[in-house]
């Protein structure tokens, strides 16, 4: 998206419909999820998705800080999406910039849409997402990691929440953008699905899409989310089945 006045734009789509990394338009990058990756957190997950590495942890339900945010009839969901200083090409100053604050807000709203918050009045469910290595799609990777972490923490929810970005690259609608596609493509549409209801709890978009392109993008994204859902379920199954190797950062 940031290509106005830029210097060199790479070829994003080959004549035979292959993308810059050889994928087809509807193909996901490799996705690996480890549930229960941390010891201290109540629930956690580590996601490697393409060249993204994202850790998520969940604490709660627990006391609300700061106190005045407490609600008498339900739990609140607080989210902090943060990027490590070294996760991007140019070192990022520590702390939440405006982009991170916006993403934290929409992710918190997405989860509050599926968690049974009424069961835990006067508490907070805190979702922490740390992006350790970034390569486009980190908000979706963070949401996927956090969703598995919530399940790992035993937080009752309507369903797991898979997420993926769809984009427009050289006039094609493609699934799961990587960095070059995101930088030089002409649209980016991240979404998060509740498979059980078929509804979207996160939806953003920036770029140019006609009515028809948008329809196709939504359909492609929903299909992508259903594939991701299977990986998420399997990660939790693996964890429950084996209670296997001691929890810890996958190395």
């Amino acid at each position: 998206m940031g290509s106005v006045g830029a210097k060199d734009v790479p070829v994003l789509m080959s004549p035979d419909g292959k993308r810059i990394d050889g994928r087809r338009a509807d193909e996901l990058r490799p996705l690996a999820i480890t549930a229960g990756a941390l010891k201290q957190a109540d629930g956690s997950a580590f996601v490697e998705w393409g060249a993204n590495k994202v850790m998520a942890a969940v604490y709660g339900p627990r006391e609300v800080h700061p106190r005045h945010l407490q609600q008498n009839n339900k739990a609140i969901v607080q989210c902090r999406y943060n990027m490590a200083a070294f996760s991007v090409d140019e070192r990022k100053r520590p702390g939440l910039d405006r982009r991170s604050q916006e993403i934290s807000k929409v992710i918190a709203e997405a989860f509050e849409s599926v968690i049974f918050v009424e069961e835990f009045p006067r508490t907070s469910i805190d979702v922490y997402i740390e992006v350790l290595q970034a390569n486009a799609g980190t908000r979706c990777a963070g949401l996927v990691a956090a969703s598995v972490a919530l399940a790992d923490a035993g937080i009752p929810m309507v369903d797991l929440v898979p997420a993926v970005a769809v984009g427009k690259v050289a006039d094609s609608i493609v699934l799961d953008l990587k960095k070059e596609e995101d930088n030089y493509g002409s649209a980016d549409l991240p979404m998060a699905l509740v498979p059980q209801s078929g509804r979207l709890v996160l939806l953003q978009m920036e770029g140019h899409m006609t009515r028809d392109e948008l329809h196709r993008a939504l359909d492609l994204g929903v299909a992508g989310c259903r594939k991701i859902y299977d990986v998420m379920r399997q990660a939790l199954l693996d964890k429950y089945r084996a209670d296997g190797p001691a929890p810890g950062v996958a190395a």
Binding site: V106, E112, S113, S197, E206, H208, R211, D219
Partner: protein, 260 residues
């Protein structure tokens, strides 16, 4: 009666009305409030507009100042968008550092302006890699009676469409010139009230809503930005039908900013 109970009763009432296609202020589900744009409201800005949607009011001022291009876009000027949800405008807003709500408003408006290529940023470059214009879009919310995003976006578009580049003041050219607008993006916001989805929600409806969706369209038939907000969900079919509604309402709102 406690505040929470009062709020809950109002929510129930609004949802009941919506179920039968009605709204608290008498509008139909697809009725947009009366809107207006007053350009040139502030003489100290290089461009400005006061936009009103119903009783919601946002004042936007544009300032152009010399700056330096970003290293990765040496031939483009820069754009900085900021929304101030000052406590003057609503009992819900408190003094202090920018609330995520204010950040969301500015980022959603910023995305629409940028994605629609509202202004040609390369025209704001003075000397490649050395000197450019920085265009500040500052939106000041004065009265928050619901649907800030659309109002702020309308104010920003109205202000940009009536901006003069202060070439003389900064010694960039011999005469000032109007800032050229390429495209006119308009945001259109919806709120889900139960299974009904209303356009241009009032502040009371936002309080009762289970989901908000903003869709920005341009005059050429493109969707240029979207943002789902609040707790709640939309089906892909909901989104598709709302896109059609956003296109239908876009032209009228666009004309307000353009012809003001």
């Amino acid at each position: 009666m406690s505040e929470e109970v009062a709020a809950e009763i109002l929510t129930t009432h609004i949802l009941d009305l919506a179920r039968s296609g009605r709204r608290l202020d008498g509008r139909g589900l697809d009725d947009y409030r009366k809107s207006s744009v007053v350009p040139g409201f502030v003489a100290s800005a290089d461009g400005s507009a006061l936009a009103r949607i119903g009783e919601t009011a946002v004042l936007c001022g544009i300032k152009l100042e010399p700056g330096k291009p970003y290293p990765d876009t040496p031939n483009a000027g820069t754009l900085t968008t900021n929304a101030e949800l000052v406590p003057l405008s609503s009992p819900m807003f408190e003094p202090g550092p920018p609330h995520p709500r204010a950040i969301e408003v500015s980022r959603v408006v910023d995305r629409a302006i940028r994605a629609a290529e509202t202004i040609d940023l390369t025209k704001l470059c003075v000397t490649s890699g050395e000197k450019c214009w920085t265009c500040y879009v500052d939106m000041h919310v004065l009265d928050h009676s619901g649907n800030i995003i659309d109002t702020a976006s309308l104010a920003a578009l109205g202000a940009l469409a009536h901006t003069t580049m202060p070439n003389v003041r900064f010694g960039v050219a011999e005469a000032d010139a109007p800032l050229a607008i390429q495209h006119y993006p308009v945001e259109c916001t919806f709120a889900r009230l139960g299974e009904a989805i209303v356009i241009d929600p009032s502040v009371e409806e936002e309080g009762a809503a289970n989901g908000r969706l903003t869709i920005a369209t341009d005059e050429a038939g493109n969707v240029v930005a979207m943002q789902k907000g609040l707790i709640g969900a939309f089906s892909p079919d909901d989104v598709k039908s709302l896109v059609d509604r956003a296109f239908r309402h876009g032209d009228r709102q666009r004309r307000l900013a353009k012809d003001a």
